[in-house]
């Protein structure tokens, strides 16, 4: 028997143990059984290799062959990624559908990047140029929104001896580089092992906000380009809607959406909706900048474990071109559960709640692949990769291991609250428990670029909300009528902030996205009412008269004011001033 072939000795669910794979390395890909199922070596004990298999293992038994491939689990990177939908190990689901039917059959194979699509390569370098890893060779117009940059692959350095415009599939040679070890042909496609982060020159601190068009996020708990965030919440609290909203409206140039162990119908929703929705900046369909990874809950659990790595490697590749990339993983709990399942089958000593002891370090190493970076290449381009992970804690209990391990590494916490969801307050992000460690950086940016009153406005509004929470407890004991009028006015202002600002309807065309200038004006408008009403109250105007002002109905509808008509806010402000002044004292 040769070294490249061994045989199965044990099968337990997705775990297969094989013997006789001499020289096999950790995380090497293997093919298992006559059906040649995909698998990956995750443990080596003496001569026995434990393999996690990415497909259902029914019918595999001792004595069947196992083949080495010599390569770690890798993804194909090149033109054609955008608009694709892949499973957890980068098999194109649309091609599988066309070739193998409506259900996923085992052993099905199809190249990740189509070999039929023709791409036109435009060189950006010329013969004789000295180039190194990451240097730009040329570009391919991949979609209406994305110019795909063909870069010198890692480890290649030398002089270009041939380059020119060419049209062909991804395997077409676009350049020849004369290196110290002889000439290297460069095509439009390269491979990269998913468990290894792609190299960068160095990391930079995040400073620029990533706007999402979601008022509670952008104003109170902002995210930055290259930042990390998590969205934990019990079922029914709207995690997936928040993730979808971010995928739709975040101002990143590339979106990678990983549906990791979630519902099939939700992925279908994304697939049907994204080609219809328009990017607010360019007016092109959102699908033109999106890569989807769908490993639904009923698809093999080991491929689910791989799916987040497949996603992040694709995201890093686009980051290396100098793009701002955002990756949404829904949900990292399912990923952690996949790790737990494999760990249990390996009979490892469990940590908390049966999760493996390395849960924390795996989660940390995943989020650490985010960041603002200076890319490889001589042109010093900068790229960013932002990560947003949903977490689905059992019973909505945030003290469980996955939430806790995640909170140790992420900088933004959007805590979803099922009480808010039951009250149909969406997005159900609890404003009292959530936080963002990027607030300072974003305040600084917004003060400089948008309005110098940004930080002050935000802090005042948050102060009102926090005071409301304190007063609320009192109201529950003694009733609203027992509060002094100025506190009742504050309660009114808080209610307006909650209902007219924080509440945002993702399914209303006019309300689903709000730009930063409009967010600022809207919040300002509510505070303006409070500022006008307070002195009036002191002068003897009745609270009910203030609460009954007609203009408040227009404030409630102000969130629907179109983005191109923001002057309307100034008019509304003026009307508030006049209406309050006109009340009898």
């Amino acid at each position: 028997m040769n070294n490249n072939q061994g045989e199965v000795v044990k099968v337990s669910g997705p775990l297969v143990v094989a013997r006789g794979l001499a020289g096999a390395r950790m995380y090497e890909m293997v093919r298992v059984g006559e059906m040649r199922l995909f698998g990956e070596i995750i443990e080596i004990r003496g001569g026995d290799c434990s393999i996690q298999v990415y497909e259902e293992t029914e019918g595999i038994g001792p004595g069947q062959p196992v083949f080495r491939t010599g390569e770690a689990l890798s993804v194909e990177l090149g033109p054609g990624l955008i608009r694709s939908i892949y499973d957890g190990v980068q098999r194109p689901l649309n091609d599988l559908n066309a070739k193998f039917g409506d259900f996923i059959v085992r052993g099905a194979e199809s190249p990740a990047l189509s070999r039929e699509t023709q791409w036109t390569f435009e060189p950006a370098a010329k013969t004789g140029d000295k180039v190194a890893s990451g240097d730009l060779l040329g570009t391919v117009q991949e979609s209406k929104l994305v110019v795909h940059k063909i870069m010198v692959p890692a480890g290649v350095e030398g002089k270009i001896t041939r380059i020119g415009p060419v049209t062909g599939n991804v395997d077409t040679r676009v350049a020849v580089i004369e290196t110290a070890n002889g000439p290297v042909d460069v095509t439009m496609v390269q491979r990269w092992p998913v468990r290894v982060g792609r190299p960068v020159k160095r990391k930079l601190p995040p400073t620029v906000p990533m706007t999402t068009g979601q008022r509670v996020i952008d104003m109170f708990f902002p995210m930055t380009q290259g930042g990390t965030a998590c969205v934990p919440g019990p079922f029914g609290s709207g995690k997936t809607v928040v993730q979808h909203q971010l995928a739709k409206w975040a101002n990143a140039q590339i979106i990678v959406y990983v549906g990791c162990g979630e519902r099939g119908n939700e992925m279908t929703d994304v697939l049907m909706e994204f080609p219809e929705l328009k990017d607010p900046d360019s007016g092109e369909p959102l699908m033109e900048r999106t890569v989807l990874i769908a490993n639904t809950s009923n698809m093999p659990v080991a491929a689910r474990e791989a799916s987040v790595f497949t996603g992040i490697t694709i995201a890093e590749y686009f980051r290396d071109m100098g793009y701002s990339v955002a990756l949404m993983a829904d949900s990292t709990s399912r990923w952690a559960e996949a790790m737990r399942e494999m760990s249990g089958r390996l009979e490892e000593m469990p940590g908390e709640e049966g999760y493996p002891a390395y849960l924390g370090s795996r989660i940390a190493s995943f989020y650490e692949r985010a960041g603002n970076v200076l890319c490889l290449g001589s042109d010093d381009r900068a790229g960013s990769l932002s990560l947003i992970g949903a977490v689905s804690p059992p019973g909505g209990d945030f003290s469980e291991p996955v939430v806790q391990a995640t909170l140790r590494v992420v900088k933004v916490f959007w805590g979803l609250d099922d009480k808010l969801a039951f009250a149909r307050h969406f997005p159900a992000i609890n404003w009292l428990t959530s936080y963002s460690l990027y607030q300072e950086a974003v305040d600084k940016y917004a003060n400089e670029h948008l309005d110098k009153g940004w930080q002050e406005t935000r802090q005042r509004a948050m102060g009102i909300l926090q005071r409301e929470a304190d007063l609320d407890e009192l109201v529950r004991l003694v009733g609203m009528d027992a509060l002094p009028v100025d506190d009742r006015l504050l309660m009114q202002a808080a209610k307006m902030i909650r209902e007219d600002f924080l509440h945002q309807n993702a399914f209303d065309d006019r309300d689903t996205y709000t730009s930063l200038p409009k967010q600022f004006r809207l919040l300002n408008l509510i505070l303006h009412f409070y500022d006008e009403a307070r002195p009036a109250l002191a002068q003897g105007v009745s609270l009910s008269a203030l609460q009954g002002l007609d203009v408040l109905e227009d404030v409630a509808r102000a969130k629907l004011i179109p983005e191109d008509n923001l002057n309307e806010f100034d008019r509304l402000k003026e009307r508030i001033t006049q209406a309050v002044a006109a009340l009898p004292r």
Binding site: P62, L93, I104, F235, R263, G264, T268, E337, P350
Partner: protein
């Protein structure tokens, strides 16, 4: 593959048998287990093979077995079910054998009960309204074709009656489409099972139904394969015969307990409350078999029923179910205690897919607005009631009192309905409007003015 027979069973642990000295066995293979001197066969399935040892899970349980008397025959194939359109109108046991004195089924096809995951790319988005005739579902938590919407119930609540009512009344507003009901009972009592069979017979629904019955005193391990046989049959009827299939699974709690039993026998590291760490993955392999396929006429809609231990929604079974299914209908003990049927707890219930199945051309243009308004008014009424408990009714404002009255009327007229009362969606909407008429017109902020003009009772 050749069949191989071994008399080398060594250990029996719970529902598992360890067979030694085997060769050429594969994972997931089906086995026949014979005891010397007995005719009855038991069925089993290979859960693990390690070298020459195989762990076999026995569906009928291991009581009365002795290792030295056993002969285990490996069949070289996985668990399959023979399916046919003739299964409609028939009753089967948990092993798929007819128990209604009818003739045996001549299969058109043999299918692996585990099915294959549907390619997400092949899925069609569920957006066709199913009318169940129950107002709290149709108007507030709308069910659509291809959805999985569980009932979270608790012991002593009338979930069976409700499930039977849905099976009886569910229809799509378009006519001329073929509809089937598949009923899978896992560990329910004889009485409950009789109730369903009698109800199906009484209403003639049995003609278009397939029943799989595993009773409380039937082997627990059989419960693992019951939902899979039911769903495999459903997939055949839906995607090969073009039928719209409603699958009722009851009670998933018993299913999960059977799973836990096997896991414990294998000495696996437990997750929460002793349930195996892969409970989520296992449940999803059942629930995710609901759906529609692009370009195919049929669909599978699931209505799983589960009883929450101690009425606790955070117990692993309802919790993990809620993470997979597209919403939940929660039954409430306090509402049941008021004598209201069906005792649906409206506020925490949810259908995630309702937005795409309602509105103009599907139900009626004002549906979404009426739904939101009823919700918010009922929530406000309930809040005011809670306040009244603490502070006394005198502390409520006049407006709050109005909402309290509304909440009571809502429970009495809208939630409450007869077990045989099949309300068309228009009627549910009309009741909704008549309740909203209790409130001043200007407080109906969630309804568009044009709809108030058109539908507000004069």
């Amino acid at each position: 593959m050749v069949t191989r027979e071994y008399r080398t069973a060594r250990n029996i642990i719970g529902p598992l048998i360890l067979v030694e000295g085997v060769e050429g066995i594969s994972y997931g293979e089906l086995t026949d287990i014979k005891t010397a001197g007995q005719d009855a066969l038991r069925r089993g399935k290979v859960l693990e093979v390690n070298g020459d040892k195989a762990v076999v899970q026995v569906f009928e349980g291991t009581s009365g077995l002795a290792p030295q008397d056993l002969s285990v025959k490996f069949l070289g194939k996985s668990q399959e079910i023979g399916v046919s359109a003739d299964m409609l109108g028939r009753v089967f046991d948990g092993a798929g054998r007819p128990i209604d004195d009818g003739p045996p089924i001549i299969p058109e096809k043999w299918l692996n009960v585990n099915g294959s995951p549907m390619n997400p790319y092949a899925r069609d988005y569920p957006n066709e309204f199913i009318q169940t005739g129950i107002s709290t579902i149709d108007l507030l938590n709308t069910l659509v074709r291809g959805q999985k919407l569980p009932i979270f119930s608790a012991s002593g609540l009338p979930h069976s009656r409700m499930a039977a009512q849905i099976a009886r009344q569910a229809k799509v507003l378009k006519t001329g489409e073929r509809f089937a009901v598949i009923f899978a009972a896992m560990g329910i009592t004889f009485e409950e099972s009789e109730f369903f069979i009698a109800d199906f017979r009484r209403t003639g629904a049995i003609e278009r139904a397939v029943l799989f019955i595993n009773l409380a005193d039937d082997p627990a391990i059989e419960r693992i394969s019951v939902p899979r046989m039911a769903l495999t049959t459903a997939e055949f009827l839906a995607y090969e015969k073009g039928m719209h299939v409603l699958v009722i699974l009851t009670d998933l709690t018993n299913y999960c307990e059977a799973l836990r039993e096997i896991s414990a026998a294998r000495k696996e590291v437990p997750g929460r409350r002793g349930y195996p760490g892969y409970l989520y993955t296992d449940l999803s392999s059942i629930y995710e078999r609901a759906g529609r396929i692009k370009g195919k006429p049929g669909s599978i809609t699931q209505f799983p029923v589960l009883t929450m231990p101690e009425d606790d929604k955070t117990h692993p079974i309802p919790d993990l179910t809620g993470y997979i299914t597209e919403g939940q209908i929660i039954l409430s003990r306090p509402i049941h205690a008021q004598g209201i049927y069906p005792p649906v707890d409206v506020l925490p219930s949810l259908s995630r897919l309702k937005d795409k199945g309602i509105g103009k051309g599907k139900t009626r243009e004002d549906h979404a607005d009426v739904m939101n308004q009823l919700y918010s008014a009922y929530a406000r009424g309930k809040n005011a009631k809670e306040l009244a408990v603490v502070l006394g009714e005198s502390a409520l404002s006049e407006e709050d009192l109005l909402f309290v009255k509304f909440a009571d009327a809502f429970e009495g007229k809208f939630i409450r309905q007869g077990e045989d009362e099949n309300r068309p969606i228009e009627e549910s909407l009309a009741i909704g409007w008549s309740l909203l008429a209790m409130l001043p017109r200007e407080s109906l902020k969630r309804v568009r003015d044009e709809y108030i003009e058109k539908y507000y009772p004069k």
